[in-house]
Amino acid sequence: MARVEARDADALAALYDRHGGRLLGLAQRILGAGGEAEEVVQEVFLFAWRSASAFDPARGNVLTWLMIAARSRSIDRLRARKPASRPEVRSLEEVVDPPAAPDDVEAASASRQWEGICRAAVAELPEDQRKALELAYFEGLTQQEIAERTKSPLGTVKTRVRLGLMKLRERLRPYSKGGSDGA
């Protein structure tokens, strides 16, 4: 990131090659395939280009920082759509896996490894906790909206969200601060 800060366009291109596909996958998961997801990715990298000096490694790694930026912009656009035009939530299988870039196999491998760890941790959650967290994260629903969508009491939803995040946190603890791919 110090190189990105130094306005080295090659460094930003390398950051894109390393993380662009992952950010696009997240944006597509929230917005559906199409131009808006690509616009979000473009905005995030432009933002990273302009704000590299603001990134502090003590707060977490680059990928998390980029993904938070991509997720919030995607939810922003999702909520701006008229309700009737919101796409159905796509299943993971509809998102295509990219081929590894030939000169970045190691980074791709570490990134996929982290993807696998996270996916396993999420899959291990009880169904109702996982569902509540996914509705919150990928559709930006409030706890009240989740309660209505799942036909559950509000208090139950709050408990599921709390327990779900705590379980994820415990499951990921052995890998934290070094398990995910940084730049």
């Binding site: 130094a6 996958g25 432009l46 912009r73 922003d76 996270c118 919150a136 709390r162 934290s176």
Partner: protein
Amino acid sequence: MAHSERHEELVAAVALGMPLGADRAELEAHLAEGCAVCESLLMDMREASAALGAAVPAAAPPPDLRRRILASLGPSRGSAEPPAAPAERPASPALWRVLAAAAALLLVVVVLDDAKMRREREDLRSRTADLAGRLRTTETELAQRVLRARVLESEDVQMMLLGGQGPQPGARARVFWSPTARRGVLVASNLAQLPSDKQYELWVFHEGKPVNAGVFDPDPQGRALFESTDFPQPLAQNFAVTVEPRGGVPAPTGPIVLVGKPA
């Protein structure tokens, strides 16, 4: 008040970026007393939330996306340059972690549509109340200015979306204003940092002419919360943000980076 499961529920909601509404005040009061459990929980739950996103498989980007992104960058230097000096940070690790947690709350972009305006308005007010209680940096000044504004409590509050222009096509903003109170609040994101001799200036269009409505700086994440008072009467018709010399100028001279569209 003692730490309880209820606080953990609130921290979990914050970590997922959910608006808390009226519950925010309760969490704010609890954090103001200093709760090490909640502070560490917030950081951990944020990372856990990120895992939900990391579990999504990467997608194959279209080949021209890379070209478009690189083409949209400003001037770049091909050769390596020494990195800029690291940003100042407070000495205490505990305070830094709290600041990072509070900054995490800022990462959720304020979004509105007409049907949810009241809830999001309350959330913005309570979110800035939370910030004013926790931060000891220049962000506190911004949050306190917003708190003092009566805009969000006005019954006749209106909202306009501003879109990025020219050198900052990715910038976004909303202006909330009260025609009767003649005050407004700008909430902006994706703003570039400016050289030290420049500032962003807000203009209110009144009878077709831009009127100076104040200057502001973005935070390190490119976001800004800015309160402006004394809007001209009658109703403001449009808003714009330009880049001007620090301190502002009476009439716009610099490039337009944000301009309004009907909400």
